[in-house]
């Protein structure tokens, strides 16, 4: 770039802004948002049962099919699991994050940070598969329980197995924002609370907990959304009655599938997430992320 061009660009910030921002924005508008719109439109189409081709005739039948008992059951199961996993992760993560933020020495804190972040990036397939191996009837869990004289419960391929694995996989997503929220609480607030006569537990309940809540909600967005959209863990870890919204979508894609129905069903997690994000915003989660 010559000095003249630079000078010309320097004098025209709107031109520079347009030049730098249009490539990424074009990508998102033309590929991502356009795809979402196409998916929405596809949801109103049908598949010709004879030719298996998508017919561009407008219908609401895909949506009315969602509200039949088969799919309502699947939606409720997915939703209940997402809520359960979110609560479990919040319960596991909170004391851990509290220790990290307010008890641990800087050295220990850093080590814990790494210990949480590495599993977050370690391959998803590897972590799910590890649990397939652990939970199987010949696996480590049953072996250990057996040797402790607790019998050999059948955990593999059940909703319980799915609950354990989801809680495991998304746990780091909860720890990090909760840690962030707890770490940001000024020490002086706790001192003020103590000066005003509140003892440990009361300070925790009246000062720490409300200030940490946005962090918990921020973490819950990820644990909730990731569980809501998964179909791999239900397929590999779950049993016969573990089908999720994602599984139905996945089964309807490809040869012999029903892409318009899959598209209509995909609106369910979108609507749920939209509602969830609105609630999260009201609870101040976006300031905690």
């Amino acid at each position: 770039m010559g000095i003249r061009t630079s000078a010309a660009l320097w004098r025209r910030p709107w031109l520079r802004a347009t030049l730098t921002l249009s490539p990424p924005l074009a990508w998102f508008l033309l590929i991502y948002l356009a795809s979402l719109v196409v998916m929405l439109i596809t949801a109103f189409f049908t598949v010709n049962p004879l030719t298996n081709q998508i017919e561009h005739t407008w219908t609401l039948s895909n949506f009315s099919q969602i509200f039949t008992s088969t799919y309502i059951t699947i939606i409720v199961r997915t939703l209940v699991m997402a809520i359960l996993v979110t609560i479990t992760d919040a319960v596991i993560a909170f004391p851990f994050a509290f220790f990290m933020a307010r008890v641990a020495s800087p050295r220990v804190r850093q080590a814990l940070f790494v210990a949480v972040l590495l599993p977050l990036w370690a391959s998803y397939m590897a972590r799910v598969y590890a649990w397939v191996v652990i939970l199987s009837d010949k696996g480590m869990l049953v072996w250990t329980l057996n040797h402790l004289g607790l019998g050999s419960p059948h955990v593999a391929y059940s909703n319980t197995a799915m609950w354990i694995v989801f809680s495991y996989i998304w746990l780091p997503f909860m720890v990090i924002p909760v840690y962030g929220a707890l770490e940001r609480i000024p020490e002086s607030y706790l001192q003020a609370s103590a000066d005003l006569g509140a003892r440990g537990w009361r300070t925790f309940r009246r000062v720490v907990l409300p200030l940490a809540l946005p962090g918990v909600v921020a973490g819950s967005i990820f644990t909730f959304s990731l569980t809501l959209g998964d179909f791999i863990t239900p397929l590999l870890i779950g049993g016969a009655n573990s089908s999720f919204i994602g599984n139905t979508i996945y089964n309807n894609v490809g040869v012999g599938g029903n892409l318009p129905f899959a598209a209509a069903l995909a609106m369910v997690p979108i609507v749920i997430m939209a509602v969830y994000l609105l609630i999260a915003r009201a609870l101040g989660a976006f300031k905690a992320m």
């Binding site: 590897a126 780091p172 103590a194 996945y250 992320m289």
Partner: protein, 298 residues
């Protein structure tokens, strides 16, 4: 405010959580060396045999090559687009600026299946055959935000006036970019590239919808587990994939102090550096000086 008893309970809790996080990964590493063909605990004996089986499997090789191609291409495209977006958002004030962060993070905040299905609907609608190109498009879409977050976080720490100083001293746009922007941004860029690659290399859900008949490495693993065949080989491949994702991420963590690794930053630029690291100190430094840190909220 934390009593001794509470401290001990918390310590026990932390140890429990650490075991919970680490045990599955250790288990899978142990099983990769198990000489038995049946995955039962405890392992029967130890061998390197499955690694050579996996390495010599043409399907695994093809999948690995496809994963690397997709990862490298998605990284390059998202580096360009993500840093453009970060520079633009950092330097200019304009209507709708706040919504850009939200737009870029959508592919990560919405369930992956939405991105995957949306792209597939669009490809089907437009008559585009699923191929390596469609995989790259899918991966780029969610990798952009990683680059954007890392680059924006760094830009907010570096004072903008050094660019103006460079221009005032007579450097043209290219020289300023080459001698001022690149040196201040380099570690952020390297770390962003490594993270984007790791994210792409490991992705399953979006890939399922954009890959067509070809297998990336995670798709091969997924298929093999579903069929329940070649499981000892799967163990070896899985351990390889673990290393292949963890190594770039560890390097990236060293470069940025772990800030870019949180994955959950909806609010770009507000990364959490682990306390006590140089990055954390730099962050505290930056927080003292308000550098246009208003929130791109919803």
């Amino acid at each position: 405010m934390v009593g001794t008893g509470t401290r001990w309970v918390l310590r026990l809790w932390v140890v429990g959580v650490l075991l919970f996080l680490a045990l599955p990964i250790l288990t899978i590493i142990i099983f990769a060396f198990d000489s038995s063909t049946v995955q039962s605990w405890p392992p029967a004996g130890y061998t390197f045999h499955w690694f050579s089986v996996a390495f010599n499997d043409p399907q695994v090789r093809a999948a690995l090559i496809l994963s690397i191609k997709a990862g490298v291409a998605a990284t390059i495209v998202s580096m360009v687009l993500g840093s453009f977006a970060a520079f633009g958002v950092h330097r200019f004030r304009f209507f709708g600026r706040e919504s850009i962060s939200l737009l870029l993070v959508l592919p990560l905040a919405l369930p992956g299946i939405i991105t995957g299905l949306a792209l597939q609907s669009a490809f089907t609608f437009a008559g585009v055959q699923l191929s390596l190109v469609t995989i790259i498009i899918g991966h780029t879409t969610f990798c952009i935000v990683v680059v954007y977050n890392n680059a924006l976080a760094r830009l907010r720490r570096v004072s903008g006036s050094i660019h103006e100083a460079s221009m005032d001293l007579g450097a043209d746009g290219w020289q300023t970019f080459r001698f001022v922007t690149v040196p201040t941004m380099s570690t952020a860029f390297i770390s962003a590239a490594l993270l984007a690659f790791a994210l792409s290399f490991d992705e399953v859900i979006v890939t399922v919808f954009t890959a067509g008949a070809q297998n990336t490495l995670p798709l091969w693993i997924f298929g093999a587990i579903r069929l329940g065949q070649q499981l000892p080989e799967v163990n070896a491949v899985v351990v390889f994939v673990l290393l292949f994702t963890i190594i770039p991420v560890t390097v990236a963590a060293r470069l940025t102090g772990g800030g870019g690794l949180t994955r959950s930053t909806l609010r770009a630029g507000d990364d959490l550096a682990p306390p006590g690291t140089p990055a954390a100190e730099a962050q505290e430094e930056a927080e003292r000086v308000p550098v246009g840190a208003e929130m791109p909220g919803l």
